[in-house]
Amino acid sequence: MEILNALALFANFVVVPATAYGAQLALGALGVTLIFGILRFANFAHGELMSFGTMITILVTWFLQNMGVSIAPFPTALLALPIGVLAAISMALVTDRMVFRFYRKQRSNPIVFAIVSVGVMFLIAGIIRIVIGPADQSFADGQRFIIGAFDSRRALGLDEGIAIKQSQLITVVVTAVVVAWLFWFLQKTRSGKAMRAYSDDEDLALLSGINPERVVMICWVIAAALAAIAGTLYGLDKTYKPFIFLQILLPIFAATILGGIGQPVGAILGAFIVAFSEVTVTYAFKKFLAYLGPTDWAPEGLVQLLSTDYKFAVSFIILVAVLLIRPTGIIRGKVI
């Protein structure tokens, strides 16, 4: 019984939140890894692209809420999300046309791309802060919990319950659908294969008559769509804060490199490893151990490996470990 209680506690505070967080990171990392694979640079504007898509979703959500439109028990944001996705795609295509295409024609060094992506980051960050402001915004409505802590305690007959927020379930379901579609697209469709071919060998893809501009366009469309979805899910699950999207770049990059650059499967694996490490390392195991130990015993202190303030350190340590031990990542990625 005590063991089951401990497991339920662990599931409630580690497994469930880490799964949702991992799914959100995975969507972001997939976009970054696609851009790495096709355009061959680290896109520092990706966080802001996520933020931008989310912002539009929030604005449309507010509009719908004002109009009295609702799809309760689901959050209205789901209804607004397609518009956010379209907005992110437009932003990505416009920046590609106005900024990145020029350097592609010049065949510039990847670092030059990274630097201009910083310029794009500034621009999008400015637009976001002017339009919606720098403050927190909440836009989640609909039912909050699928399974409440109380219900699950009773159902399981335990002292500890496993609560699942609706946003977490939605995150996981949406991610699963999107990822399944993405893999079907990459493996089975002509355009998907062309993307993989281009990522594998640009020159040979050219010799096969693959149009590079088309591949790049599809890449941006997918990456931006994933970014808007990821940002919105993250915002539903937590809250929307514009500044968080620069910080979230770090776990996303860590997941990308951990998985192997340009490897979609790796990006997903990497994202879940980063998310689970982060949540586990910053979880206080005091109560968990108390259940496992003798009756009426509890460890002194919180038994927390790292304070939650340092969750970025987890991504960083993972990143450093990968760079030191296996720079190609879990799934041997391209060293572009």
Binding site: R190, A197, D200, D201, D203, A205, L206, S208, G209, I210
Partner: protein, 235 residues
């Protein structure tokens, strides 16, 4: 006029010319081979034919059509298939996907048929169709590369040193396959280090020295030519 006539090609990558008034021609169903010492501009001549080099002078005419100003990727739909020397397969993709990529520009119904013909020509590819090309041996990779180029249904197939780094047995096998391809009416242009073996299967040979045509004749005649043998075939 020949099926492919690249005449008077002069040009290079930067300031200095590598090719000087170089001419290469191929007929349908024939194998033409470009040989010469190291640094003679063999691969450069091939790249010039394919448009990967800016020509100052000269022209490239394929099947009566002047394609001198076309970019390489635009020459593929015109019927040119090119097998580069290095990095000529998509290593992360399966054999079959490599072939599919070759057929990328086609939208007719015959793709499966062409694929079957390639599997007939290179049975090993059929066996390993679901394996990533990066896991194959050097000779098998060359077959994938040739297969990928053939999927475009080229009228002219160009191979840049297809036998580089493969064993003599595999080389003979590969040459046999190339002859088979030629028999179907495809013109073949090939750059080769293994000059003697290549000239043995060639209808025409072009000996280049320092970017210029030095000897041009049938393969047989070149093999019989005392000077060619002494200077370029090692006696």
């Amino acid at each position: 006029m020949s099926f492919l006539s690249a005449t008077g090609m002069t040009g290079g990558y930067g300031g200095t010319d590598i090719l000087h008034d170089c001419t290469i021609t191929v007929e349908k169903g024939e194998v033409a081979v470009v040989v010469g010492p190291n640094g003679a501009g063999k691969s450069t001549a091939m790249k010039a034919v394919f448009g990967m080099l800016n020509l100052r002078e000269g022209s490239v005419v394929l099947d009566g059509k002047d394609i001198t100003s076309l970019a390489p990727q635009d020459r593929v739909p015109q019927g040119m298939g090119f097998v580069p020397q290095n990095r000529n397969v998509f290593v992360s993709m399966t054999v079959e996907e490599n072939l599919d990529m070759g057929a990328f520009i086609r939208d007719d119904d015959g793709i499966e048929e062409t694929k079957q013909q390639i599997f007939d020509l290179f049975p090993i590819l059929g066996e390993k169709r679901n394996q990533p090309a990066g896991e194959l041996s050097g000779g098998q990779r060359q077959q994938v590369a040739v297969g990928r180029a053939l999927m475009t249904r080229p009228k002219l197939l160009m191979l840049d040193e297809p036998t580089a780094g493969v064993s003599p047995i595999v080389m003979d096998e590969l040459f046999d396959k190339i002859l088979e391809v030629a028999k179907t009416g495809v013109a073949i242009l090939m750059v080769e280090q293994n000059a003697r073996q290549a000239l043995e299967i060639a209808d025409h040979g072009f000996v280049l020295v320092q970017g210029r045509n030095r000897f041009t004749d049938t393969g047989e005649a070149l093999l019989a030519n005392e000077e060619v043998r002494r200077s370029f075939l090692g006696g």
